[in-house]
């Protein structure tokens, strides 16, 4: 690990000023420290934001507001989260391991780096880590990589589980930077790799996520998260899906659907959502909608199975959402 300076921020303003001057934010450190130990990340200055008052989780009317420094485990166990948006708790519990969930913050979760194996290997080409060096995954062992939103420069999958649920639910974030505060949709936080895969998010220099707001919707109670993976814990999704249904008189009025493990960012499936509207709550409707999910999918040499597994996962997640009383 390279030497670095660590400062503790006493106020949000302190933190933003330090970050605007080049420091990197550190909260739980579960991604950053790991990558620093392998010298994939080499920050010279870290600003510790753990003391900032951004941990609160509360209901604002029927909206749910989650502080950016709330820990994954705290959010998952919080009664207001379970009452208002149970799918967020479900997605969080499916993520990482208990130890990591105790440390990792919500803001950090959204900004975690990708899990492409070549990203972590300093001696392998990776456009995300070393722009212009090439992509080792495209012709390499890419079973875990993305089939949607990929480019000739990068095929890395966005790893977060809870981000998939947040995108499905249309969550927004409050961020503050040197130029003040703004709101943006969680979905708009993530960039597609294009030919600049090293640029992963749309935050401006120094901007800090303050909190995440999840709006109430008629589908919030009928929402489920399904994660398909090779072991029961501490493993990233092969494919995951957050599905939410607004059902009236046995028919779907509206649906929300986003998927993980397949996209270069958490992947909202608006075409599937539209196809579900007005349909009966049954498997045939789900299957018809799920068929649209792989439109434009570009499988690689080792991840063809995701083209098969994605619609299956969607159908099952929709069934689970439909079964919620």
């Amino acid at each position: 690990m390279l030497p670095f300076a660590l400062e503790k921020a006493r106020s949000t303003e302190d933190a933003i000023a330090a970050a605007a001057a080049g420091a990197r934010y550190i909260a739980g450190g579960t991604t950053l420290v790991d990558l620093m130990r392998e010298e994939v990340e080499r920050p010279e200055r870290l600003i510790d934001i753990n003391a900032l008052p951004l941990k609160d989780i509360h209901a604002d009317g029927s909206d749910l507001v989650i502080g950016a420094l709330a820990r994954m485990a705290e959010v998952a166990a919080h009664p207001e989260v379970k009452r208002l948006q149970p799918v967020i708790a479900e997605a969080l519990i499916e993520g990482a391991s208990p130890q990591l969930r105790n440390m990792a913050s919500m803001g950090g979760n959204l900004l975690q780096r990708c899990r492409c194996p070549y990203f972590r290997m300093l001696d392998a080409a990776c456009n995300k880590r070393a722009p212009g060096s090439g992509c080792s995954a495209i012709d390499g062992l890419n079973a875990g990589n993305a089939i949607l939103g990929t480019s000739a420069s990068c095929v890395a999958t966005h790893p977060s589980d809870v981000a998939v649920a947040l995108v499905a639910l249309g969550a927004t974030m409050r961020v503050r930077g040197p130029k003040g505060e703004r709101n943006l949709a969680v979905e708009e936080l993530f960039r597609l790799p294009g030919d600049t895969p090293h640029l992963e998010h749309t935050l401006l220099p120094g901007e800090l996520i303050l909190d995440i707001r999840v709006p109430a919707g008629p589908y919030s109670r009928r929402a489920r998260y399904l994660k398909v993976r090779d072991r029961a814990s501490y493993e990233f999704a092969l494919v995951s899906a957050a599905a939410a249904l607004h059902v009236e008189n046995g028919r779907i009025r509206s649906a929300r659907l986003a998927v993980g493990g397949v996209g270069t960012r958490p992947w909202r499936l608006k075409a599937c959502e539209e196809a579900l509207a007005g349909k009966p709550v049954d498997r045939a409707s789900f299957e018809a909608a799920a068929r649209l999910a792989t439109q434009g999918a570009r499988p690689l040499s080792h991840n063809h199975y995701k083209v098969e597994l994605l619609p299956r996962t969607i159908v099952r997640a929709l069934e689970m959402a439909g079964e919620v009383a």
Partner: protein, 744 residues
């Protein structure tokens, strides 16, 4: 043999040390003035080193030395081959030339004042290579199968071709036939504790605190590498944090630690990174197999062909018992087994828990299961119909064989009778449920071993052997054996292992530690009692003075004239009177006459229940039940713990473990605990290990057959067979992945 302490559920004697952090592992033996070494690993998979910018790195803070092939000096590397080393080929000679034979081969070692400084220097060192594309996939058209050279010599240990009758013709003409191929992924051992060595020279004497399952061989090998007398090397390793075979051999990092320490004239600590444990510390070789079975319509085997090939390196021919258990498992007049190697541009594989047998059993037992469906016969009944009366490959009786007793015991406990035979016929809600079974077997080995017992005036005993305890509970079980044959409570025995100063023992592997070291301890205990008898009858101060040896008897730890308890004196009294501790050595090995008369193996039956999501293909193991015939169980607590670990390892083999190599450069892409999947607690189901009563008077004086390896064998085929029963989908590659279950 009636027993008092053997067979008891004695808790681990070293448990308190381990749970309070007082057990010292190799990397804990920090030495005064110690420096730190970090290995620089090759980043090409084949080729040669063309340059190394050492000068820039030498100036980095704290850097003491950079050793590579240009300045390491020629090491003697005297010929040395232990039983654990491949019979053919020569170990990697580290830093002796510019050749890169596989990805991750050590090309330099950096020594610095602190670990951090050494790591930074290692990352900064620029090495240039002339690289070529390696061949790391046994399916690559450039990969070739060869007959193991070791099998070509007369009287060879390794057998490449074995058989009886005309197996191929018998299969071809049989009314019912199965002919399938199996592919098992490369696996790495991945124990929790990384390989670690602290090396310290004192003049021409070297001490190594080094993670090892075979201390006396590490001592001999390092002496050979450095061209020094064996007695100048000491190896110390009191505790091991799991090994599963990876520490059986002495790998290059031990040499590098000793070399670095000698170079800078200070003690050096070298700990491998997790990633480096995928490079030079062995792995379970990927294997390709074919099994062809021919049976009569009533389920009698008429012909059996088992062909297997395992990967090895270009510089050593690692062999394992891939097809061996097939030779005797079932009664079959026509049988042919074939074993080949596929040399690749990789490091040498080595034994990993249940080596060979677990891979071979996967192929054989999946084929048997498949045959049972083809016959419409219960899989257990198929085995029963082909249960041999003797080992037909050697034409000699089994010393004991409880296979069908294992099936019956485990089937009853598991509830096999609830199974409906038809695939996809059992459901739990929307989940598909499957039940599968498979046979396990592992040889009951025995190797020459030595031990020493010392009785002290305070009535306690010290027992010593250069053995290891990688987790099975050697400290505890050997204490029980010594207690048994000394007639002392275990609390008054201190068993010590993990030092080359103690009497030599064989490698701590192959499930032979209890058979070998336990028998040696028994011999030493009997010897020390005999020594005590001789002393006592010559000691005027003792009531037994003047008695003849055959007029004496033992009552626990008291020696008395036969039928005269009042003449009895304890160890403490006799030793105190003698004025010095009384010591005796013991050794044990298998009587070659017995060995040639009997076929000696453990057997077991493993049952698995799985639940499979038919939509998304996830496989959940719900229960594993194993019953084993392993001779005498020395400690049922430890034995069950062994089986739990073995079954979990078998689950990993079945569903998760796979070292994925990038074919472009031989790089393992998942050399990481997050990416190399093994079961986590949430995956691990209810596990049940049962032991059939089995008295085997032939294997060794203790009647034990060993347990560590067989506990892994059989689990993977039981799970694969359960997956078929649940889904009707036969997966013949390991690990079984979701995509395999979903595939059309």
């Amino acid at each position: 043999m009636t027993v008092q302490f053997i067979g008891k559920a004695h808790p681990r004697v070293d448990g308190p040390l381990k749970v309070t952090g007082r057990a010292r592992y190799s990397a804990d033996f920090n030495q005064p003035g110690q420096a730190y070494a970090v290995i620089v690993s090759a980043t090409v998979g084949l080729g040669r080193i063309t340059g190394m910018d050492s000068a820039a790195v030498e100036r980095m803070p704290g850097v003491l030395a950079i050793l590579n092939h240009t300045n390491a000096g020629k090491l003697p590397y005297r010929p040395h081959k232990a039983g654990i080393d491949p019979a053919e080929g020569e170990r990697l000679h580290v830093l002796q030339d510019d050749a890169v034979r596989f990805h991750g081969q050590p090309v330099a070692v950096i020594v610095a004042e602190t670990l951090d400084q050494a790591e930074r220097a290692a990352l900064a060192l620029k090495v240039s290579y002339e690289g070529r594309k390696p061949i790391v996939d046994p399916m690559d058209p450039g990969a070739q199968k060869v007959i193991p050279d070791a099998a070509k010599r007369p009287g060879a240990r390794t057998v490449a071709d074995k058989g009886r009758g005309d197996a191929d013709a018998a299969v071809a003409s049989a009314p019912v036939r199965i002919d399938q191929r199996y592919d098992i992924a490369r696996e790495n051992h991945n124990p929790m504790e990384p390989h670690a060595t602290v090396a310290a020279w004192d003049g021409d004497r070297l001490t190594l605190w080094s993670k090892s399952q075979y201390l006396v061989n590490e001592q001999a090998e390092i002496a050979a590498v450095f061209g020094m007398p064996v007695e100048k090397v000491r190896v110390i390793c009191p505790f091991i944090g799991g090994a599963f075979g990876t520490s059986l051999r002495t790998w290059p990092h031990v040499t590098l630690a000793a070399l670095a320490a000698r170079h800078i004239g200070r003690p050096v600590k070298l700990v491998l990174t997790r990633k480096q444990m995928f490079f030079t510390t062995g792995h379970r070789p990927r294997t390709l197999q074919r099994v062809a079975l021919g049976a009569s319509s009533d389920g009698r085997l008429l012909g059996l062909v088992h062909e297997g090939a395992g990967e090895t390196s270009r510089y050593e021919q690692f062999t394992e018992a891939l097809t061996s258990i097939t030779d005797f498992m079932y009664s079959c007049p026509n049988l042919r087994t074939e074993y080949r190697l596929i040399p690749l541009d990789t490091g040498t594989p080595n034994h990993m828990r249940g080596p060979g047998e677990s891979s071979g059993a996967f192929a054989l037992e999946c084929a048997m299961d498949e045959l049972s469906y083809a016959l419409g016969l219960d899989p257990i009944e198929l085995r029963r119909r082909n249960e041999p009366k003797l080992d037909e490959s050697e034409n000699r009786p089994f010393s004991s064989r409880s296979l069908m007793a294992c099936y019956d015991l485990a089937a009853g406990r598991f509830g096999w009778s609830r199974r409906t035979p038809q695939p996809r016929s059992m459901r739990d809600g929307r989940l598909l449920v499957g039940m599968g079974a498979a046979t396990a077997s592992y040889p009951a080995f025995h190797a020459p071993a030595n031990a020493r017992v010392r009785l002290l005036a305070d009535g306690t005993a010290e027992v010593e052997a250069a053995a290891s305890d990688m987790g099975p509970g050697t400290y505890t079980s050997m204490t029980q054996v010594a207690a048994e044959f000394l007639g002392l409570p275990p609390e008054r025995i201190r068993f010590r292992l993990g030092q080359t100063d103690y009497p030599a023992t064989p490698s701590h592997g192959g499930s032979w530690t209890m058979a070998s070291v336990g028998s040696a301890i028994r011999a030493a205990c009997l010897a020390v009692r005999e020594e005590l008898e001789k002393l006592a009858i010559a000691d005027q101060r003792l009531p037994v003075f003047g008695a003849t040896l055959d007029a004496l008897e033992w009552s626990g730890e008291r020696l008395q004239r036969r039928g005269e308890p009042s003449s009895g004196r304890s160890y403490a009294e006799i030793v105190t009177s003698a004025g010095r501790p009384i010591e005796a050595a013991g050794s044990a090995q298998r009587d070659p006459n017995v060995a040639s008369r009997y076929s000696m193996h453990s057997f077991g039956a493993v049952f698995a229940e799985v639940a499979i999501d038919p939509d998304v293909g996830t496989v959940t193991v719900r229960r594993l039940t194993g019953a084993y015939g392993i001779g005498r169980v020395v400690n049922p607590l430890l034995a069950r713990s062994q089986c739990n670990g073995g079954m979990i390892g078998g689950m990993g083999m079945a569903l998760m473990e796979r070292t994925a190599l990038d074919p472009r450069d031989g790089r393992p892409v998942n050399a990481h605990m997050a990416d190399y999947l093994m079961p986590v607690n949430l995956d691990i189901p209810k596990l049940e290990a049962l032991f059939v009563d089995e008295a085997d008077p032939h294997v060794n004086p203790l009647g034990v057959k060993g347990l560590g390896e067989i506990a892994l064998v059989g689990t993977a085929p039981a799970i694969a067979n359960a997956v078929f029963h649940a889904t009707g989908k036969r997966v013949r590659t390991l690990p079984i992945r979701i995509e395999d279950v979903l595939a059309g």
